[in-house]
């Protein structure tokens, strides 16, 4: 097919060309760059409100979801076809060993030995240096050492094709979404509850099982705010000994981890129990449940009026006629720098939003206590914590991992490993035996000059 000049032949040649790969890579790079300039996954209205421009062009070209546009898929599929065809083409070449490359080193030795004796000397060299025979005819002996680099190149390209298959499996069959769990309230895992289904063929089905949160807890590490200047000149002065770095009295609570104790209810009984945290998800029947966050709602009372607020969000309190932010709700275990551990009495830090938009600290309000704000008493009556999990069913991920890490291993072997091929040509000329050796090598660890030196040292006794 390669040599035919019809459209199929030309198309085949185009797809087997390395230039095509480079052009397609360049085209994909343009998509990638656009995808980092425009926010992805947001709707046009949010984009407009955030001050986005060129709305018409952005909508027309799908720039807010560029990685799901037909044009992007088209380029990705063309690259996949290019990769597959190249891999197939090179597989055939590897089988035939069709390549003729110029050697890294070429040397000729002259002997007083016969051809038969020269071959014996070479046999000795090959045995000593662990070369294996590849082919042999009347005048030429070919030997090699290491894994033939083209096999490795072929295999890791094939691995990338398998990665693509993994991506497509994910794209077609993935089921994913978010779960907001309240303690003691089981939630059924069913596809109609998935607002974020992205799988093209994901189907609705009966709820296979339920998941329940037994307990949610948090852990914190205590530190303090660092007294370190903001401007460069003061920092330079500090470096020159103007003053030392110190810690202020302002406490900082850094999250150590969040834990959700979960229970899977399947067929009316508890099938699995596990306490998960970030980086340690729960897996059950192909689904994986990840700890992604949590949300707190506080129950407060002012002038006998009870109201609830969500932490870290602005809340306009009518009784005070001012906007308050309830930030940094803390509950759980606190690890202090001196190694001691304490259970925190729940509290929230209150800040007031001033007219110029700044946050002014008001104070810290503990559970069951009150604080005075604007001459009125605010009472902290209770709280409710919910754990936010993401869940995912992804049949393509395992294929992707196996293929992906194989690609890395094979690529590393190809790039770093050693491969040598030696072609010896023995001929008689003017009563002497001439041995011409061509040394081919690949891989960063390969050193054709060194092999040439070894061969010269081995043949030294017989030359001259």
């Amino acid at each position: 097919m390669r040599k035919t000049d019809n459209i199929r032949g030309r198309l085949y040649r185009w797809f087997t060309s390395l230039r095509t790969s480079v052009y397609l890579f360049a085209l994909l790079t343009v998509f990638y760059i656009v995808g980092t300039i425009f926010p992805q996954g947001v709707d046009t209205e949010s984009y407009r409100q955030a001050g986005g421009r060129f709305i018409g062009a952005v909508e027309l070209l799908g720039l807010l979801d560029i990685f799901h546009t037909p044009l992007f898929y088209l380029v990705a599929i063309l690259l996949l076809v290019n990769l597959t065809v190249c891999t197939w083409e090179r597989f055939q070449g590897v089988r035939r060993r069709a390549w003729r490359e110029s050697p890294d080193v070429e040397r000729t030795y002259s002997f007083a030995l016969s051809c038969q004796e020269t071959e014996e000397v070479l046999e000795e060299f090959m045995k000593k240096n662990r070369f294996r025979p590849v082919s042999r005819d009347e005048a030429t002996i070919t030997v090699e050492k290491g894994i033939y680099y083209r096999y490795l190149t072929l295999l890791y390209h094939a691995g990338i094709v398998v990665c693509f298959v993994g991506f497509f499996l994910t794209g077609f069959f993935v089921k994913e979404g978010l779960l907001v769990l309240k303690p003691g309230e089981p939630v059924a895992i069913e596809s109609r509850m998935m607002p974020e289904i992205r799988g093209w063929l994901a189907k609705e089905g009966p709820p296979p099982f339920s998941i329940q949160l037994d307990e949610f807890r948090t852990e914190y590490i205590l530190s303090r705010k660092l007294n370190y200047p903001e401007d460069g000149l003061s920092r330079l002065a500090m470096a020159l000994g103007w003053q030392d770095i110190t810690y202020t009295d302002e406490e900082r609570y850094y999250p150590k981890d969040w834990f959700s104790s979960l229970r899977i209810l399947d067929g009316g009984t508890t099938a699995v129990e596990k306490t998960i945290q970030v980086n340690d998800p729960l897996r059950y029947r192909g689904y994986t449940f990840y700890q992604v966050g949590f949300e707190e709602r506080l129950k407060l009372k002012m002038d006998d009026k009870v109201f609830t607020v969500t932490t870290n969000k602005k809340k306009k309190i009518d009784e005070l006629d001012r906007t308050i932010i309830f930030t940094g709700f803390r509950r759980g275990t606190l690890f202090r720098p001196d190694g001691t551990v304490e259970e925190l009495h729940p509290f929230v830090t209150i800040k007031e939003l001033t007219e110029d938009g700044k946050k002014r600290p008001v104070g810290r309000l503990h559970l069951g206590e009150s604080i005075e704000i604007g001459g009125k008493s605010l009472y902290f009556e209770g709280f409710e914590e919910t754990s936010i999990l993401s869940y995912r069913y992804d049949p393509g991920v395992w294929l992707l991992w196996y293929a992906g890490f194989s690609v890395f291993g094979l690529m590393a072997l190809r790039c770093l490993g050693r491969w040598y091929m030696l072609r010896f040509r023995i001929e008689k000329k003017e009563g002497r035996t001439l041995l011409t050796v061509r040394i081919h090598s690949r891989g960063l660890m390969a050193d054709a000059q060194r092999v040439s030196g070894l061969l010269s040292a081995h043949l030294e006794r017989f030359t001259g």
Partner: protein
Amino acid sequence: MSVEEVLSRGAHLLTVEVRLLWLVGTLYMVASVVSLSGLLTGEKAGYRAPHALVGLTLVLHTGVILLRIFETGRAPFQTLYESLSWFSFTSTITYLFVARRWHRVALPCFFVTLIASCAIFYALLGRSPEAKPLSPPLQSWWFEWHVVVAFSSYAVFVVSSAFEATYLIARRLMRNRDHALGLTVEELRPFRGMATKLVIFGFPMLTFGIFSGAAWANEAWGRYWGWDPKETWSLITWTVFAMYLHAQSVPRWRDNVASTLNLLGFLCMIMTFLGVNWLSKLLGIPSLHVYAV
């Protein structure tokens, strides 16, 4: 020890560390200036002095890195301040290793030490040295593997681009003479070959960096790829270096096109490491890699 004593000791160590890092940054800058002046004078000391200075500074820098590990009790690349220091450390150590064969050529030393000192001064002037505990998503064994390998690839690409740029300048200077910048005409090809070898060495590491990052994201966030700006730029860097390696097999692209791609790959790498943070802030694009911002 009480909380006050622990924090006071931490603050003292931090003061020592920051002052030493200022010294390290200054010494890299001095090495850079010395390399450049050596190029201009063309004397033997012109290439010996900067290399000796870089070697000495690296010893000091190793001490700073070890001090940070002692202070925090973890690998020293959580915050951008730490990552910048680590980046310059790995870049200069890679350069010194590679420069053993090409020690007479001082221009790559100028480029690498300039980049290293800029990274350190940016860390000192633009970031806080505060040693924070590891945030929950970072508490994974992928943290060390992913970051170490990814940064090693960055270091290799920095040195490769320094060699590539030197090659391009030397080639231009050699239009009217047979030697330039400590290189002869015969040495030009193998010198450029070193830049290629470095990319060949760094590319599998970058591949591992991307795959390990995806595996980690899958474990921590429940998805292996989210087109986050950092992820996308790492893919752009990978793609550009893939183009570079493929261009090496196309005879007409082997020279200028490949050189341009190598330098472009370096810029993409810098964009992945630092530029993405700037881009995310500028355009208001949320990034899950906020700990690095």
